[in-house]
């Protein structure tokens, strides 16, 4: 049976809210959750904290988080925070 991944598009202006909503849906996400970050041009400290928390929760629940459309600038921030390894990336 094919699994359909849960997908979220994160609003660039409401990153934390979007990530919190995604976190709340982890239980029903199945094995994979796709977060579309293509609208996120810059990520701030609260956004990073929310991502870190989401990653921790997803680990607990065995859900793989795929970040889709993350800009190279955002990707670099995740590398600096040593967070990139906790996600999968897709274009």
């Amino acid at each position: 049976m094919a699994t359909i991944a849960v997908q979220f598009k994160i609003d660039g202006e409401r990153v934390v809210r979007g990530l919190e909503e995604a976190r709340d849906k982890l239980d029903s996400a199945g094995p994979e959750m796709i977060l579309d970050l293509s609208a996120v041009k810059r990520i701030d400290a609260p956004g990073l904290r929310a991502l870190e928390e989401l990653a921790a929760r997803a680990d607990d629940k065995g859900v793989r988080i795929v970040l889709r459309g993350a800009s190279i600038d955002v990707y670099k921030v995740l590398k600096l925070m040593r967070l990139a390894a906790r996600f999968s990336f897709a274009n």
Partner: protein, 876 residues
């Protein structure tokens, strides 16, 4: 030392980790900021800092009880206004500098988290300065204030942080330890998330920073010597020294410590100091002061005296001075432990020394410099440039301040154009990594993007080349009073020299210098030079084959520049533009060189090369420089009509090898290609005819031209591995150069057309194209073949056919060289061939094993592959 300290408690570690996480997050977020974002934050911080300059100064005085309120306000203003003036227009995000002509771009990369130690002497100005540097460069900082200046330093951090965050800086970009222990500092210094330590403080802190194993900036101790030289503007110097030494009560470590005064002005200098409020100590007072200021056992300054007023210091020491005394001046008779006041005194106490000569003054300044002030700051007051330069040479100081106050001068931006700073790098002598005034560039990783620079190419040949029958008559157009014809006995005998002589202008006195027709030896060269000197020659005509023309080139060089050292000029080089040994440009004689070639092979008449035979050492020395190229080349086939068939074949194959190697050279260009390709076509067409029918004028003429055209190609593109092999083999077994080339040629074509086992670094080589070049040649010759590989094989086969036609020996074995003898020589041959610079422009970098394989191929000749061909890969 930091690494010997134990870890903080778990609770404390959690606190420190929290600071680290905040700073790390801020630094990561900051990485996304633009230059515009950064600059607007910096400006807001500067305004906030300036507004609070007095408040912070007052706090610092209240808390530390060090320094002067008014001066601390100035320091805070310098740390904001002056620093801003320096950094405001400096790019620190993305591209920061470009050097288009060099293809270089410098880009900024933030450092990340910086752990910063703060001093007690400048506890607020240093914070303002470091905060601006950090924001300008997108870094986050964790500050560790001096325990006795925590309140004022942390208040300064708070003011800057709030201004920054209000303007959009990431939260957590600055944090400040609420209190700290040495264990805290050590923990943070070692923390993996701390990228750099910036230690401004005492020697213990700086040493701990450098010992942590982290990249660190630290300032060294100071002991500023001042040379008050006799030509100085004394009034200005005295005021400047008082300004500097009393500024913030002498707490800036760049302030003056010992003034060495020339005897001629010593008394008047002290008089002026006294007139302006300095107290000149007697010998007894100097001794008392020394005892009061310094711990007799450790030799260290009493901390209680740091930044105190002169009158207070005098009172504590028990000296009686006027109430308005600004400065205590202590005459000393030497430097060292027995003269305690000769070291750093962070208070308004100044030593002076009377020097009886410039040498003595410089010596004492050096002594002071070495007594705890290496790498820091030095000052000279003088109007004598020589004295200033001498002082600057002998003193080891990152800042040498001329005719200005040491402390404020070293801060930069006020009295001079040095970079404003509150952190003085003292170089390795001061235990630091830099001598700079620490600034924004030390808070950046500067990345250098280096574009591939287009390889400079050239095409240089004599600017006058005359060709065709009777081209020799053109010698008449060159005015000369004294012409020397260099030729060999044979050519002299058959009347070639007379033909040349016939066309020389009547006013020229003509002398013929006959030298043996062999590779020129130094002895023969020097004889020729003697003749040139004797006849005061203004023109040389080289009439002969390659050896003769080479000899004339070297004679001209030695005649024009007798000091030229041929051995040195023969030094090897990789790039002619970067060669270590330059050919002489100064000439005591001027002389034109006209080259008339009497063979059709070497092309020496247009090349910048000359080979000299060193008989004593039994080796050939190759000289190469465009200054060796003849001024005029004459390609007159009448001089080759009598060439014997064997020589016709040998020289013709040499010409073909030149052209084929130049065509596939990594230095080949469209300019050299057209010559190489044309020469190849001419050789294939005319060499068999010239060989078979030596009387055929057209074939002779075309081969003579082909040799010159091929030489123009290789004079600029170079040759290749064929020549390296032929040189080694020919010299060892006494085989003529053309024949040696012929033995290697088909094998080298196949070798070069195969994918290289190893590429040689060469900016000229944009792609591997040798196989395509060979295919193009095959097409030009109409040899057939559909694929590149087929065309390469056609060319190799056609070359074999040509060599057969010329009755060239087709293997080394066919020369009668026994296999054992060849095998014995092989290691040497490989070594010599590898050292031969000829292959440097070859499209394949030959491995030693490949050179050996090529020698074996040449030994066996075509079709015999007894040893296999593992070193030669399939055709590309």
């Amino acid at each position: 030392m930091a690494k010997n300290l134990s870890n903080p408690t778990e609770e404390r570690m959690a606190y420190l980790e929290g600071l680290i996480t905040q700073a790390k997050t801020a630094a990561a977020v900051f990485a996304q900021f633009t230059q515009q974002d950064v600059d607007s934050i910096v400006k807001a911080m500067v305004l906030a800092g300036m507004e609070q300059a007095q408040h912070l100064a007052r706090l610092a005085i209240q808390e530390t009880r060090i320094g002067v309120l008014e001066d601390k306000v100035i320091k805070n203003m310098v740390a904001t206004e002056f620093v801003y003036n320096y950094i405001k227009n400096k790019p620190t995000v993305g591209t920061i500098r470009e050097f288009p002509e060099r293809g270089l771009v410098e880009l900024a990369e933030p450092i990340g988290v910086i752990f910063s130690l703060l001093p007690i002497t400048n506890p607020t100005s240093t914070v303002l300065f470091k905060c601006l540097m950090a924001i300008k460069t997108r870094n986050a900082v964790i500050f560790s204030p001096h325990p006795n200046a925590w309140r004022c330093s942390s208040e300064a951090v708070r003011i800057m942080y709030e201004a920054a965050v209000k303007q959009g800086a990431p939260e957590g970009v600055f944090t400040c330890l609420e209190s700290h222990t040495l264990e805290d500092n050590a923990y943070l210094m070692r923390h993996k998330e701390v990228a750099m330590i910036d230690a401004t403080g005492g020697q213990g802190a700086v040493k701990a920073a450098y010992s942590s194993g982290k990249p660190a900036l630290g300032v060294g101790p100071g002991n500023t010597p001042v040379y008050l030289e006799k030509s100085a503007d004394l009034s200005m110097a005295v005021v400047d020294i008082i300004v500097s030494k009393t500024f913030d009560n002498g707490t800036i470590c760049a302030s003056e410590q010992t003034v060495v005064i020339d005897d001629e002005i010593y008394d008047s200098a002290l008089k002026k100091f006294a007139e302006l409020g300095a107290h000149i100590c007697s010998d007894k007072e100097t001794e008392i002061l020394g005892r009061a200021l310094f711990d007799r056992q450790t030799g260290c300054m009493q901390p209680i005296a740091v930044g105190q007023k002169a009158t207070d210091i005098a009172r504590v020491a028990g000296l009686t001075v006027k109430p308005a005394t600004k400065l205590l001046i202590a005459p000393i008779q030497g430097v060292g432990r027995e003269h305690p006041l000769s070291v750093e005194k962070l208070c308004p106490v100044l030593s002076v020394y009377r020097a009886m000569s410039t040498e003595e003054a410089l010596r004492v300044c050096v002594d002071v410099n070495h007594a705890g002030g290496l790498g820091h700051t030095a000052v000279i007051f003088s109007r004598n440039d020589d004295a200033i330069h001498k002082f600057s040479q002998v003193i080891n100081a990152g800042r040498i301040i001329v005719n200005a106050p040491g402390s404020i001068g070293a801060l930069g931006g006020v009295y001079n154009d040095m970079v404003p700073t509150f952190s003085f790098g003292c170089g390795t002598a001061g235990g630091n990594s830099t001598t700079d005034n620490v600034n924004i560039y030390h808070y950046l990783n500067i990345k250098r993007m280096a574009r591939r620079t287009p390889a400079p190419m050239w095409f240089r040949v004599p600017n006058q080349i005359y060709f065709n029958f009777n081209a020799v008559e053109n010698v008449r157009q060159f005015p000369s009073r004294s012409t020397v014809i260099i030729t060999n006995p044979g050519l002299e005998q058959i009347g070639h020299a007379d033909i040349v002589r016939r066309y020389l202008p009547p006013e020229a006195s003509v002398h013929v210098c006959v030298i043996p027709d062999a590779e020129p030896e130094l002895k023969a060269i020097l004889q020729g030079v003697e003749a040139l000197n004797l006849y005061k020659a203004d023109q040389i005509i080289a009439l002969g084959g390659g050896s003769m023309i080479d000899a004339a080139k070297i004679m001209k060089l030695k005649y024009e520049s007798p000091e030229a050292d041929l051995e040195e000029l023969a030094a090897p080089f990789l790039d002619i533009r970067k060669r270590v040994v330059q050919y002489p440009t100064e000439k005591i004689n001027r002389c034109r060189l006209i080259a008339i070639s009497t063979t059709s092979g070497t092309g020496s008449e247009v090349t910048p090369f000359a080979v000299l035979f060193d008989k004593e050492q039994g080796r050939k020395v190759t000289l190469a420089d465009y200054s060796l190229s003849p001024d005029v080349a004459i390609i007159d086939p009448q001089f080759v009509m009598s060439m014997p068939r064997g020589l016709t074949a040998d020289t013709g194959v040499d010409c073909l090898t030149h052209a084929l190697e130049a065509a596939v050279s990594t230095y080949a260009s469209c300019y050299s290609d057209c010559n190489a390709m044309q020469a190849i076509r001419m050789v294939f067409k005319y060499l068999p005819v010239a060989y078979q029918h030596p009387e055929e004028e057209e074939a002779r003429s075309m081969m003579h031209n082909a040799a010159c055209i091929a030489a123009m190609a290789f004079a600029n593109a170079g040759v290749g591995v064929n020549h390296a092999l032929a040189h080694a083999f020919g010299a060892r077994f006494g085989v003529a150069h053309g024949r040696a080339n012929a033995l290697m040629l088909p094998h080298v074509i196949r070798y070069n057309a195969s994918v290289p086992t190893k590429f040689r670094p060469s900016p000229n080589q944009r792609a591997y194209v040798a196989h395509k070049k060979y295919a193009t040649i095959a097409e030009l010759l109409g040899l057939g073949g559909r694929t590149i590989e087929e065309k390469v094989n056609s060319l190799a086969a056609a070359t074999e056919q040509l060599l057969d036609h010329l009755a060239m020996p087709r293997s080394i074995a066919a020369l009668g060289i026994a296999k054992e003898k060849f095998e014995q020589a092989l290691p040497d041959l490989v070594k010599i061939a590898f050292d031969d610079p000829s292959w440097l422009s070859n499209p394949r970098m030959p491995l030693m094993s490949e050179l050996e394989e090529l020698f074996w191929s040449a030994y066996r000749g075509r079709g015999i592959t007894e040893k296999g061909s593992s070193a030669v890969q399939p055709a590309a």
